[in-house]
């Protein structure tokens, strides 16, 4: 099975595609039929369901809340010393959430995605 943070990342990528597909500026360049948008939303909803099963409803709600609030990267690589959402310094010894195993920024709560070594 995929790692939960990778699934969260995929959910975020879907949200980004959906947002662009809805924007008029994008539609001017690449017109998409309504059925395409519907297809994307269905895929997003299916992924949400799967994540609710793996991580719990609370975590998916948290994702939705953060996405609504920031509307940009809320599942971000944790490679650097600084959170790229709120620009606060991340503690060197970060503890994962014991229930989900996910890492979060202690200041703004965004999800931190652990990139592979040597990234």
């Amino acid at each position: 099975m995929k790692k939960p943070e990778v699934m969260l990342l995929e959910l975020q990528e879907l949200e980004v595609i959906i947002r662009d597909a809805r924007s008029q500026d994008y539609q001017k360049i690449f017109p998409l039929p309504d059925s395409a948008l519907k297809q994307l939303q269905e895929r997003r909803d299916a992924l949400c369901k799967e994540l609710e099963r793996v991580l719990g409803v609370d975590t998916v709600d948290e994702f939705r809340r953060l996405w609504k609030r920031y509307g940009k990267g809320i599942v971000i690589p944790a490679g650097g010393e600084i959170c790229t959402n709120c620009f606060n310094v991340l503690p060197t010894a970060l503890e994962p959430d014991p229930r989900t195993g996910l890492y979060r920024c202690p200041s703004c709560s965004v999800f931190l995605y652990m990139a592979e070594e040597g990234a």
């Binding site: 995929e10 990528e13 879907l14 980004v16 998409l32 994307l40 990267g73 971000i76």
Partner: protein
């Protein structure tokens, strides 16, 4: 604008890919991403293709997506002599690719503006065929930049 976007080290003049998946992978390879990030980007690009091919016709395709795996706007140019079956809207094989990837937080200015510029360029390219005769990346880059400046 195009001068800054298209760089020689982001160009592949002789792509080997013959299928859609192979083409996306060959284009993404140019970005030198770590394996896990590469896979995430490919999944995203395939999702975008699944709702409608970005093969805009006349041998040109503009696969694109926002993705967190890149930290800046990236454009990769790929050309294939043999052509790739890309489910293009006119059913013709694709010989020229513009892969466009931008981070999700990149404001509308960068990503959508670039998509617009490249779509315009594709319309101009669609009316000509001489771009298949250029073999050097530097010369091809220059050709694209000049063509972009021409009046439509």
């Amino acid at each position: 604008m195009l001068e800054n976007l298209i760089q020689e080290d982001r160009m592949r003049m002789d792509m080997k890919a013959r299928t859609k998946d192979e083409a996306l992978e060959e284009l993404v390879d140019v970005l030198n991403l770590p394996e896990d990030k590469k896979e995430i980007l490919l999944v995203t690009l395939r999702k975008r293709e699944a709702i409608g091919s970005t093969g805009v016709g006349q041998g040109i395709a503009i696969p694109h997506s926002r993705s967190l795996v890149v930290d800046r706007l990236e454009v990769v140019v790929g050309r294939s002599r043999e052509g790739v079956d890309f489910d293009a809207i006119d059913g013709k094989p694709v010989h020229l690719f513009f892969l466009i990837v931008a981070p999700p937080h990149d404001g509308s200015t960068g990503y959508l503006l670039t998509l617009g510029h490249i779509a315009n360029l594709a319309r101009k390219l669609a009316r000509r065929k001489d771009w298949m005769d250029i073999s050097e990346a530097a010369a091809f880059r220059e050709y694209l930049i000049q063509l972009a400046k021409e009046e439509a």
